[in-house]
């Protein structure tokens, strides 16, 4: 799916503060999201190069600052502001070039922010997920047993 079509889908979401542009054959799409009515409004930026993997960063507020004192923030590729979010398992088909970014990464970014706020509140990440293992490890380790577990 080409960049122009991806952008069309993104614009169709009618997200608040949405600005999309092409820079050096890269799609840069900035948008605002509030995962729940009681959540903050976050400003995020998606970048996507044809043939590459889409990346999402949080421009504001400063996630690293919000999370400081709470321990290691789960599921980030880059921890310095603006943090880069890990939203899918690479090489599994959760994301591939035929997918519509607007229907995958955008709602996934909303989810990440939701679980982030819940994690700040409770110390638990309830969104599930996995961590990359050192090469020696064969077993997959779940970050937490969030889904379906009794509290």
């Amino acid at each position: 799916m080409d960049l122009a079509l991806q952008l069309l889908h993104l614009q169709a979401l009618q997200l608040s503060g949405a600005v999309g542009q092409f820079r050096n054959r890269q799609l840069v799409f900035t948008y605002e999201i509030s995962p729940t009515p009681m959540s903050r409004t976050y400003r995020l930026q998606l970048t996507f190069q044809q043939g590459g993997s889409p990346e999402v960063r949080v421009l504001s507020p400063n996630i690293a600052e919000l999370g400081s004192g709470h321990g290691t923030i789960p599921h980030l590729y880059e921890r310095a502001h603006p943090v880069k979010l890990c939203l899918y398992l690479p090489s599994t088909g959760e994301w591939h070039a035929g997918k519509i970014i607007a229907h995958t990464l955008i709602p996934w970014s909303a989810e990440w922010l939701f679980y982030f706020e819940a994690w700040l509140a409770t110390g638990e990440w309830s969104g599930g997920g996995e961590h990359p293992q050192p090469k020696a490890e064969k077993k997959k380790k779940k970050n937490n047993k969030g889904i379906g577990t009794k509290v």
Partner: protein, 397 residues
């Protein structure tokens, strides 16, 4: 006519989520269904033990729950979240208050219980009742009761005389109202497929009146710990319960639409202060929280010491303020300290965790939606444009 759908009104959406979280808090401070069943089985057994006697006053006696257990508003104690909860039982002996002394009535019951091997170890004597302890679970307080015409009578605290009481009538009155306070009971399926309300919760089977009473009792317990000057005069549970029910009664009579649980809760809590009466009794103004089923003033102590009404109105102001604060937070993590202050750290964190786990479960079973302009992430289809959130796995360090 659902304003959520039409305007995506962010205030209403905030309120809806606040109500949802409060419902989750109420869930966590309540006893579980199996605890309820265990308590019920126990008191039925206790009833059999008490009536297993040749003494006709006992053989035809009836043991039945009174207080919060009878009306579905039991809450866990705050000091220990897994601490024992109270079950108040009445044992109505077949005797007249004129011929049976309160102390003797209590002794008769105690003898039955202590003679039974199962209870001898668990028995603890209290001022006017016998406590059967089920360690780590609950305790049953068995209180003697006799019939006095159209009323019942229980011993006063000194066991010196009988005082009139109306446990069954009160429970009956409350339960009728409480059952009206259920809004639509939404089944899981309908919520995820077609319902418009993005935060699908109502009081469930309990109904919002019971939940408000539970939340307010716990709020009062937490408030007492902070407002130490008021702690000894904190509003007693029968008063909180009666005022909430009266406020709801007025609300129900007003014909206002009650499908917005937050608005309903707010009106009930606000109305609790309005339901406190001031009556002119022979030239003197008296505080009255009148029993709905008898000519009895639950707030008679307020007229003996003004620290009682003072504490009530101070508490009430706090309760309303907490409710309000919940709707202006920016970030779920900002809601947490408000819930914690009001209901306890454990209840607060559990409520938010359950909310988050439900969101994750929705994603797993394909029911999670994202509505950019409106409710955000929900497990319901809303009329405003929403997209399904595909399954995925968070990754990274």
């Amino acid at each position: 006519m659902d304003s959520l759908e039409q305007s995506g009104n962010s205030v209403t959406l905030r309120e809806s989520l606040a109500a949802h979280l409060l419902g989750r808090v109420a869930d966590t401070i309540d006893i579980t269904a199996s605890q309820y069943e265990r308590a019920k089985t126990s008191y039925e057994t206790v009833g059999k033990v008490v009536t297993n006697s040749a003494d006709p006053r006992l053989s035809t006696a009836k043991v039945f729950p009174q207080g919060s257990f009878a009306i579905g508003t039991v809450i866990r104690p705050i000091d220990k979240e897994d601490g024992e909860f109270d079950v108040d039982l009445a044992c109505r002996l077949t005797a007249s208050p004129h011929t049976l002394e309160p102390a003797e009535a209590k002794r008769l019951i105690g003898k039955q219980l202590s003679n039974d091997g199962r209870y001898a170890e668990k028995l603890e004597e209290k001022a006017r009742c016998w406590r059967v302890n089920y360690e780590g679970d609950f305790h049953l307080d068995v209180c003697p009761l006799v019939s006095a015409g159209t009323s019942d009578a229980i011993p006063d605290k000194q066991l010196s005389r009988w005082v009139l009481t109306h446990p069954e009538a009160f429970a009956g009155w409350f339960n009728v109202l409480a059952n009206k306070a259920r809004t639509r009971v939404l089944a899981e399926d309908s919520v995820m497929k077609a319902e418009v309300v993005p935060f699908p919760d109502d009081g469930g089977d309990k109904g919002w009146l019971r939940r408000v009473v539970q939340l307010m009792k716990r709020h009062r317990d937490m408030w007492c710990q902070e407002a130490k000057q008021h702690a000894d005069f904190a509003p007693i549970s029968i008063i909180l319960t009666t005022l909430a029910a009266k406020a709801f009664q007025r609300e129900a009579a007003s014909g206002r639409e009650s499908s917005n649980p937050y608005a309903l809760m707010k009106r009930i809590i606000t109305g609790m202060a309005d339901a406190v009466e001031q009556r002119n009794v022979q030239g003197a103004i008296q505080w009255w929280v009148a029993s709905p089923v008898a000519n009895e003033n639950f707030a008679n102590r307020w007229n003996e010491d003004s620290r009682w009404p003072l504490a009530f109105f101070a508490w009430h102001q706090e309760a309303l303020a907490s409710l309000q604060q919940l709707t202006v937070v920016s970030g779920l993590d900002s809601a947490q300290p408000i819930l914690e202050k009001s209901f306890g750290a454990n209840a607060s964190k559990k409520a938010i965790t359950i909310y988050a786990q439900d969101m994750a479960a929705s994603r797993s079973n394909g029911g999670l939606r994202f509505a950019a302009a409106g409710a955000g992430l929900t497990s319901a289809v809303t009329a405003s444009a929403s997209i399904a959130v595909p399954r995925h796995t968070f990754f990274g360090e």
